[in-house]
């Protein structure tokens, strides 16, 4: 009797995914991930900006303004990656019915929207001296603007339901349908004739000077760590909100 109990307990613990799908179990894990994220974001940003501004040379064609690349490209990449992550957690939530998956998706959305804004803003300021215009309705820029509106639509829909479960499911549909836009953004420079330049970085071959590329990739990891930390912080806040009736949350605020 005691043995079978032990065995079933082992089996249950072995399924780590299900164990951490519980908000109460994931709360402390999210806290640790958040701390690591802040640390990595700050450290990598210092290194990346140092290389980008004090080691990388002036660009032969563009002069100094190219240094916007160290935040423009990471922000644009994160805006796309976060949307895909949101679609993934939304799909997981719809299929498995796990509450934490929907919360993960909600926690990512505001940071993703900020990344889209930063990509558009820095792109505009970079475009003005290099193309002669802040904005043009070309495929890359337009599809990135649509990405921003998808984030806003997702958040608005999630917040518009009094019943949180309905809000979770409705917004998850926007996340899934909108995910089609991400490959459109990525391949837009190949599919259409755009004012935006083609990819400088492709798996296997890149056309950038290696020191510039190094700085940009380090900044990308810094952005990545920042986004993870911000999302984990938001996730923990959401867990507190949604589980505020639970005993363990009450213990937390004592």
């Amino acid at each position: 009797m005691a043995r079978t109990e032990q065995q079933s307990n082992d089996r249950f613990q072995g399924r780590w995914f299900w164990r951490y799908a519980s908000p109460a179990a994931f709360y402390p894990v999210a806290g640790r991930i958040e701390k690591i994220g802040w640390f990595l974001a700050i450290t990598l940003a210092i290194i990346g900006l140092y290389i980008g501004f004090f080691r990388a040379p002036t660009d032969a064609q563009q002069g100094e303004v190219y240094r916007v690349i160290y935040i423009h490209v990471p922000a644009a990449w994160m805006a796309m990656i976060i949307y895909l992550a949101m679609a993934f957690w939304s799909a997981t939530g719809l299929v498995l019915g796990t509450r934490l998956s929907f919360m993960m998706s909600h926690a990512l959305a505001p940071t993703g929207a900020i990344m889209a804004v930063i990509a558009l803003w820095t792109g505009a300021l970079w475009g003005r001296p290099t193309w002669g215009t802040y904005w043009v309705w070309d495929a890359r820029l337009t599809s990135t603007l649509i990405l921003f509106f998808l984030y806003v639509g997702y958040m608005a829909l999630a917040a518009s339901f009094d019943d949180k479960k309905k809000g979770d499911r409705a917004s998850a549909l926007i996340a899934l349908v909108g995910a089609v836009n991400v490959p459109i953004i990525y391949f837009s420079v190949n599919w259409w004739n755009t004012l935006h330049q083609g990819s400088s970085v492709r798996p296997g071959s890149s056309s950038m000077a290696s020191i510039m590329l190094t700085a940009m990739l380090i900044m990308t990891f810094a952005f990545w760590a920042y986004c993870v930390a911000a999302a984990m912080h938001r996730l923990r806040t959401q867990i507190i909100e949604r589980e505020s009736g639970a005993q363990w949350v009450k213990e937390l605020v004592k």
């Binding site: 100094e64 240094r67 970079w126 911000a230 938001r234 806040t237 507190i240 009450k250 605020v253």
Partner: protein, 53 residues
């Protein structure tokens, strides 16, 4: 040091407005997000306090 002086650094070859306008916007966005995150956490914890035990 690739810059002749700090003023050359801040001038960014005459493109300072565009470079610092980009980095400044990022800084403002990050600070705003951090403030909102902290405010939301505080509000959530307060609402737990009010919850009947």
């Amino acid at each position: 040091m690739i810059w002749e002086s700090w003023s050359a650094f801040w001038a960014m070859g005459g493109r300072g407005f565009f470079v610092w306008g980009s980095y400044g916007a990022l800084l403002i966005a990050i600070l705003a997000e951090l403030i909102v995150l902290r405010g939301a956490r505080k509000k959530a914890l307060e609402s737990v306090d009010e919850f009947p035990r």
